[in-house]
Symmetry: C2
Subunit: 119 residues, 2 copies
DNA sequence: ACAATATTCAACCATAAGGTTGAATATAAG
DNA sequence: CTTATATTCAACCTTATGGTTGAATATTGT
């Protein structure tokens, strides 16, 4: 049964961009305004604004308006959900890891064999 | 210091697609050939072949040719690395979660207040 | 040798993603 | 009231993504 979890889709897609992942990390240290978030980046404020919007749609950050400033807070819950998804798979993977190890060793051996006492 | 981890980029981007995530999950049960992987999907074999290529480039699966068949094995290590990345952030987020809880409660209260003893 | 099977390559298409610039909006400060 | 600040909206551009179809390649079975 092929399960499609749309929430995790958004989380993964949002985190796949390095700029956005950096923003998430910075927000781990505390709330920031849009302009503050944008400061370290070479790109335009508008581009950062868009990234923020993506993170917001993925429910990774939460926006609260205080006057003209928009203050962003990190909401770690979707990432924790992702962590749980990964943790859940772990037992399944134990067997795969072992099989893979054997496989890779065998391949390396074969590759070495390929050029017999290479000059 | 804004750290950019290109390996994690690829892992996240590869997993962000539901088809690819399903493939990863199926491979958790054991190795499969390309055609076998493609079977449950409505899309063309070619499309699946492309997805497989993406997973391969992200080092999430490993391909071994046996005659005309290409046998794919899951390599869970990049996902485990992702799990570690998430686990590493966890302590940082504890504080954020608390702050967020308070914030959301306050907002709900404000929203309820907005319509005083709504009819 | 020939046909069938397993898979990729190549070209193409539509839409999404990430970026830009310039104008609009909302609030704050002089 | 006027100006400055914070932020988004809108339009546009380029490149990436996910999909298609048709042909090519490699291997296996008859």
């Amino acid at each position: 049964m092929i399960q499609t979890e749309p929430a995790i889709d958004a989380t993964l897609a949002a985190l796949a961009d390095p700029t956005r992942r950096a923003i998430v990390q910075r927000l781990g240290g505390g709330d920031l305004r849009v302009t503050e978030i944008a400061k370290p980046y070479a790109m335009s404020l508008n581009a950062v604004s868009k990234h923020i919007r993506v993170l917001e749609n993925a429910r990774l950050i939460h926006r609260r308006r205080v006057g003209r400033e928009h203050i962003l807070s990190l909401d770690p819950r979707p990432i924790e959900a992702l962590g749980r998804w990964i943790a859940d798979q772990k037992p399944v993977w134990a067997a795969r890891l072992q099989a893979l190890d054997a496989l890779l060793q065998a391949e390396d051996a074969a590759k070495t064999e390929e050029q017999p006492h290479a000059r």
